[in-house]
């Protein structure tokens, strides 16, 4: 357990090293936040209460999206390109020799990364957004830890999806296609472009049931106080359920894949 804590801390420090890049990223998150905020204002001007949000809740949703974009890796990124590269070059054989669990190792590193991105890339855009727009912050102090737990579960689901994508490289060798498809799905079905409760009919129902909704839609709704009491428990169960299923699938795929690995000379 201590080992994984150290790995997580390493993941945090690794991303914390690039301060200029972080500042540049914050700038970009803020610019996109402003652009999206104005489009949402135009939309909610015509249809107040659209999707059950009032205008300030809709704007809060925009800035939550910018705050979680990197942390929950909504568009992918983080570790999978590195893991794919290790699979392609065969370095993975060395990893499999190590007396640590492959999946937990990468999960720990990704949690460290997510923690840094939440602080480094999440807090400042949210703060700047709050300066420029009237945002709906939680009325109750308890909403904050509830939100953070939901974000944590979302990051685990996000990791589990990206781990599956990386595992596909054992068969495909080139992970670019799979990563791009995962990026598309993440962008659209997390609710990054538009809240999922604005998706019409069947598309909306499917989108809300898919794992990607755990990444942004569910944490945002927890933040906005849409899930309370029993509903909050259900939201957690939804996220944790997907996390368990997808992590399990990743483990199965890993077992199947490691049987295939043939290391040259051995």
């Amino acid at each position: 357990m201590r080992l994984y804590a150290v790995v997580a801390a390493g993941g945090f420090r690794r991303y914390a090293t690039y301060r200029t890049a972080t500042a540049a990223g914050v700038f970009t998150n803020t610019v996109f936040g402003f652009i999206m905020a104005y489009t949402y204002i135009a939309l909610w001007d015509v249809r107040p209460q659209l999707g059950g949000y009032d205008t300030s809740q809709a704007l809060t949703y925009v800035w939550l999206g910018q705050a979680l974009l990197m942390s929950s890796a909504l568009m992918g990124g983080g570790f999978e390109s590195e893991l794919v590269e290790r699979i392609r070059t065969g370095d993975i054989a060395v990893d499999l020799y190590r007396p640590v669990d492959l999946q937990l190792w990468w999960l720990a590193a990704d949690l460290g990364r997510a923690a840094f991105h939440l602080l480094g890339r999440g807090v400042v855009p949210m703060f700047l957004g709050a300066l420029a727009f009237d945002l709906a912050f939680p009325g109750s102090l308890w909403t904050w830890p509830a939100f953070l737990l939901s974000v944590f579960l979302g990051v685990v689901v996000s990791f589990a999806i990206r781990y599956l994508v990386a595992m596909s490289a054992f068969w495909l060798l080139d992970g670019a296609g799979a990563m791009q498809m995962a990026m598309l799905a993440g962008l659209f079905f997390s609710g990054m472009l538009l809240p999922l409760n604005l998706f019409p009919g069947l598309l909306g129902e499917v989108a809300r049931a898919l794992p990607w909704s755990s990444l942004l839609q569910v944490p945002a709704d927890v933040f906005l106080g849409k899930h309370t009491g029993w509903g909050l428990v259900q939201a957690y169960v939804f996220q944790a359920g997907w996390a368990v299923v997808l992590l399990g699938a990743g483990r199965l795929l890993q077992t199947a894949a490691t049987r295939r690995v043939v290391v040259q000379g051995g």
Partner: protein
């Protein structure tokens, strides 16, 4: 890799290496080098056809989602900022196509910072080829045709569904806007690359103006704060890449008070922006100091 191709191409023409580029004026030399490097990357991409097909589709789909978002918005409303869907489609199509052309030609300019940091930028300096051409053609990605295709499809949809009296002038405005728009975005890319000589890790800042700019221009100017509209009109002249000429075509008022002839200025603005970006690039290149190790 680029070197070996250049040498081989030179060899075919039986010219001594090193002199091949010197008997032409510099801009032409740059274009020729760009073409050679581009052809090399296209050949290398085509070695993995299935992967290319997938990434081409992905490139088309990822930009298409922007438009799907707008379509989803229009399932709830009839107009956004007072603009109907075909009108927004025109803004979207112009902005997306112009940006797509620029992204295809200069899309790898954000790699300058990385090259400065890891020292591979020096390699570009010792080759007898204009550095800007090498940087611009670096990793030329044919998959970026996806964005242009998607932009053109939306533009076509707008032209078919728009209910306006088309005059020859208005029709000429469209290609003029796309070409000038691509040049204006190009100036932003080059200025951004120049900035990376100063701040190597800050390449993402450029995304705010390029990707952010094209996203901004996809929506009508009426929905944004006046100061933001003024900013993209007078400071970073992105408004000339779609809004101003498109609003003339649509017969709409621009939220910032400007005379109507401003709609015909994009080519001039593009030329000015490119000249300034060129100066910035030269200044950046001159200030470059190798790590020396």
């Amino acid at each position: 890799m680029a070197e070996s191709v250049a040498v081989r191409a030179d060899g075919e023409e039986h010219e001594p290496v090193g002199f091949a580029f010197e008997d032409r004026p510099r801009p032409l030399e740059g274009v020729r080098a760009y073409g050679l490097i581009m052809a090399m990357w296209v050949r290398s991409t085509m070695a993995y056809r299935a992967s290319f097909a997938m990434t081409l589709f992905g490139n088309l789909a990822v930009t298409a989602f922007d438009f799907v978002t707008i379509l989803l918005m229009f399932t709830h409303v009839d107009a956004l900022g007072g603009y109907a869907l075909p009108e927004i489609a025109l803004l979207y199509g112009l902005s997306s196509t112009a940006f797509g052309v620029c992204d295809l030609l200069l899309g790898s300019m954000d790699r300058v910072g990385g090259r400065v940091r890891d020292g591979t930028f020096d390699t570009l300096l010792v080759r007898p080829v204009p550095v800007l051409a090498q940087v611009a053609a670096d990793r030329f990605a044919l998959r970026r045709l996806g964005r242009i295709t998607q932009g053109l499809l939306v533009l076509g949809y707008a032209i078919v569904t728009l209910d306006i009296a088309w005059t020859p002038l208005k029709m000429l405005m469209l290609p003029m806007t796309v070409l000038s728009g691509a040049a204006i975005f190009g100036a932003v890319f080059i200025a951004g690359a120049a900035f990376q000589f100063v701040a190597q890790d800050a390449s993402e800042v450029q995304n705010s103006f390029t990707y952010g700019g094209t996203t901004l221009l996809q929506y009508p100017p009426t929905i944004f704060a006046k100061d933001l509209v003024r900013g993209v009109t007078f400071v970073v002249p992105l408004a000339f890449a779609s809004w101003l000429p498109a609003l003339y075509v649509l017969g709409r008022e621009y939220p910032v008070d400007l005379p109507q002839w401003v709609a015909f200025l994009p080519p001039l603005v593009a030329a000015g922006a490119c000249a300034l970006a060129g100066l910035a690039w030269r200044a950046g290149l001159r200030s470059y100091r190798s790590t020396g190790s």
